[in-house]
C-alpha cells in the first residue's frame, strides 16, 4: 500500500481517495503515460494476431453476405430484424459511455473523468464503427447505400421520407460519429505534440509531428482551443441523448407489443450508458494493469464507474418495472401475453431471465464498497452487464417479433453461422482497433492530467 492509500484508509469512509497517487512531476507523468508508445508491451503483437484473425471472420461474414445475399442470415418473416439490429443497438449503446465521460462529466467539472476520458472516447468511436457496419451490410448492397440513406437527387425524383425514424437514425448516427471523432482528435492534439517533443527517434518525431499539426502550446492558441473544446462538449451532451432516443423511436413508433412504449427513449439512453460503463471497465481493468497506469487510473475512478452503473442499472430496472406495469394496467391482451407469457415462459425465456439476472441483480452488488473496489468482481460484473444488455436487445427485437398478434404468423428465429461470424468478427475488429489505439496513441489525456495535477497541487496548498 502506498503512503497516500494508507493515509486515505485511516481517514475513514468519508475521506476522498486521491485522483493521482504520489506527487509526480510533469516530466514523470509525461514519461509514464507515454511509455506504452515508446516501449511497447512484449505481448502486444500476439494480441494483435488474435484480434486480426478474429477480424478475418468479419471479412468472411461480410463477403458471404454480399456474394450470396441477406438470405445467409437467420432473419426472416416474422423476425425481419435479427442479429443485424441487435448488434447495431448494442454497439451504439456501448459508445454512449465515452461521450458521457468526456462531455457530460466535463461540463459538470467532475475531475475524475480526466484520466479515463481519452480511453472512453476511443471506445465510443470504435463501437460506433462496429454499429454502423450492421445496417450498412443489412442493405445488401452497401455500395448503393448512399443513394438509399442520404437525400441525393435521383432519376426517380423521390426523396427519403423524413417522417421516418429510420432516416433520423442515419443523420443521428453519422453526426454522432463525426462529432465524437472531432472531439477526440481536438483533445489529442496537445498530447500528439507532447509525443512529438518527447520522442527520441526521428520517425516518431515526424509521424507525430504531422498529426500534431504544429501545436506549440501557445497561450494564444489555448484560448481558442479551450472554448472550442468546451463547446464541442456542450454539443455532444444533448447529442448523446438524442442518438439513443432516436434509435429507440425505430421501435417505439411501431404498433408491436413490446415496442410500442413511451418509456423507450429514456430507458434506452440509461441502458446505453449502463452498458457503455460496463465496457469501459471490461477494457480498463486489464489495460491499466498492463500499461502501469495505476497512478492516474486509481481504484477511485473504477469505483465511481461502478456507482454510475448502479444508478443507470436502477433506471433500467425501473424501465422493466414500468413496462410490466403498463402491460398489466393498459389492459391490452396482446401486450399482457407478450410480457407475462412469451417473455417469461416462451421459447426464449432463458434469455429473458439472463437479462433480469445480469441487469437487475448483478448491479445491486455495487451497493457494497467491498465489491465496488474488488477489481476481479468489477471485471466479471462488467462482462455480465454486457451480456445482460445484449440479451435485452435480443428480447426487445426477437421476442417481440416472433409472436405478434396472429398465432398463425408466429415463427422461430435462429442465427446462422454467418450471423455469428459477423458478430464475433466485430468484437475482434473492435479489439484490434483498441490494441492499435493503445500502442500508437496516448491512451490517457496527458495534458489534462498535468493540468489536474497542478490544480490538485494548488488546492493542497502548493506543497511539494
Amino acid at each position: 500500500m502506498t503512503p497516500e492509500a494508507a493515509a486515505a484508509a485511516t481517514k475513514g469512509p468519508l475521506a476522498e481517495a486521491p485522483l493521482i497517487l504520489g506527487h509526480p512531476t510533469d516530466r514523470q507523468l509525461n514519461d509514464e503515460l507515454l511509455a506504452p508508445i515508446f516501449d511497447p508491451n512484449a505481448n502486444w503483437k500476439k494480441a494483435v494476431g488474435v484480434a486480426a484473425a478474429g477480424t478475418g471472420l468479419l471479412a468472411v461474414g461480410v463477403v458471404v453476405t454480399i456474394a450470396r445475399g441477406i438470405g445467409m442470415w437467420g432473419n426472416n418473416i416474422p423476425v425481419g430484424w435479427g442479429y443485424g439490429i441487435i448488434n447495431f443497438v448494442w454497439w451504439i449503446g456501448i459508445g454512449h459511455a465515452g461521450t458521457l465521460i468526456s462531455a457530460i462529466l466535463l461540463l459538470f467539472q467532475q475531475k475524475w473523468r480526466t484520466s479515463i476520458n481519452r480511453f472512453a472516447e476511443a471506445m465510443t468511436i470504435f463501437a460506433v464503427m462496429q454499429a454502423g457496419l450492421f445496417p450498412l451490410i443489412h442493405t445488401g448492397r452497401p455500395w448503393f447505400a448512399i443513394y438509399w440513406l442520404f437525400p441525393y437527387p435521383n432519376t426517380m425524383g423521390i426523396w427519403p421520407n423524413f417522417k421516418s425514424p429510420l432516416i433520423w437514425d442515419v443523420f443521428a448516427v453519422s453526426t454522432y460519429f463525426t462529432i465524437s471523432l472531432l472531439f477526440w482528435f481536438v483533445g489529442l492534439v496537445p498530447d500528439l505534440a507532447a509525443l512529438r517533443d518527447s520522442a527520441k527517434s526521428k520517425v516518431h518525431r515526424i509521424a507525430y509531428g504531422i498529426f500534431a499539426l504544429g501545436w506549440k502550446g501557445s497561450s494564444r492558441h489555448w484560448q481558442h482551443y479551450r472554448i472550442g473544446y468546451l463547446i464541442l462538449a456542450a454539443l455532444s451532451t444533448p447529442l448523446v441523448l438524442s442518438v439513443h432516443s432516436i434509435v429507440s423511436f425505430d421501435f417505439a413508433v411501431a404498433q408491436l407489443p413490446g415496442w410500442h412504449t413511451t418509456i423507450f427513449p429514456p430507458y434506452f439512453v440509461a441502458g446505453a450508458v449502463f452498458s457503455g460503463f460496463a465496457m469501459v471497465l471490461t477494457l480498463m481493468i486489464p489495460a491499466r494493469a498492463v500499461l502501469h497506469f495505476e497512478k492516474v487510473v486509481t481504484v477511485r475512478h473504477l469505483e465511481n464507474m461502478a456507482k454510475v452503473m448502479l444508478v443507470t442499472g436502477l433506471i433500467v430496472s425501473y424501465g422493466y418495472g414500468m413496462e410490466n406495469f403498463m402491460a398489466w394496467y393498459g389492459g391490452s391482451a396482446y401486450e399482457a401475453f407478450l410480457f407475462f407469457r412469451t417473455r417469461t415462459t416462451g421459447p426464449y425465456a432463458p434469455i429473458y431471465w439472463t437479462l433480469i439476472f445480469c441487469n437487475v441483480l448483478v448491479p445491486q452488488t455495487f451497493w457494497f464498497k467491498k465489491l465496488r473496489t474488488n477489481l476481479a468482481w468489477l471485471w466479471i460484473a462488467s462482462i455480465l452487464v454486457n451480456v445482460g444488455m445484449w440479451s435485452e436487445r435480443f428480447v426487445i427485437i426477437v421476442v417481440s417479433l416472433h409472436r405478434d398478434f396472429l398465432p398463425s404468423s408466429w415463427g422461430i428465429y435462429a442465427p446462422t453461422w454467418v450471423d455469428w461470424s459477423i458478430y464475433v468478427g466485430t468484437l475482434s475488429f473492435f479489439s484490434l482497433l483498441f490494441l492499435l489505439f493503445l500502442r500508437f496513441v496516448p491512451s490517457v489525456a496527458v495534458a489534462e492530467v498535468k493540468e489536474l495535477n497542478h490544480e490538485l497541487h494548488h488546492q493542497a496548498g502548493g506543497h511539494a
Binding site: 502550446g217 489555448w222 484560448q223 495534458a447 498535468k450
Partner: protein, 176 residues
Amino acid sequence: MREPRVVLCQVASVEKLYDAARTLQAAGFTALDFYSPYPLPGSDEVLKLRRSPVPAIAAVAGFTGVALAVLMQWWMNDVDYALNVGNRSAVPSPTWVPIMFELGVLLAGIAIFLGLLALFRFPQPYDPLFEVDAFRSATVDALWLSVKVEAGEVERVSSELRQLGASEVQLVPEGA
C-alpha cells in the same frame, strides 16, 4: 525594413512568467506569447487577448444547419415530392425536429474544428521555434515566453529577460 526577430526564453514559474510579461509590456513590447503543456489560468488577461470568435463561429454554423434542415425537409417532402403521411400537418411538422437538431450540431462541430485550424493557421509542420532544441519541453513540462523585437533591441531585451530570472534565453533563427 528588417523583419522583427523573436527572443525565446524559459521561465521557472507562472508568477515569474506573468511578471516578465508585464515588465516587457511596460517597456513597449506587446507581441508576446506563452507556451505551456496545459492552459495557464489568467494568461488571457496578461496577454490582453480579445474574446475568442469560436463561440460566434459555432453559433452561425449551428443555426445554418438548423435552417438547412428545415428547408431540406420542407422542400423534399412537401414541395418537390409531396408525401402525405396519415394526413398530418405538413408545414411545420414536429418530425422535422430530430434532423434540425442533428444538422445543427453537425455543422457547428465541423465549423469549430475548421475554425480552430484557421485561427491557428494549422497544419503548420514547420515553425522557426522548432529550431530551438530546448523548446521541445514546452509541450512536456516547461513554461516558455516569446517576444518579437526589432533586430537592434535583441541584446537589450535578452539581458533584461536574464535579469528577470529567465533561463535558456535564445534568439530564434530566421524562418527558413
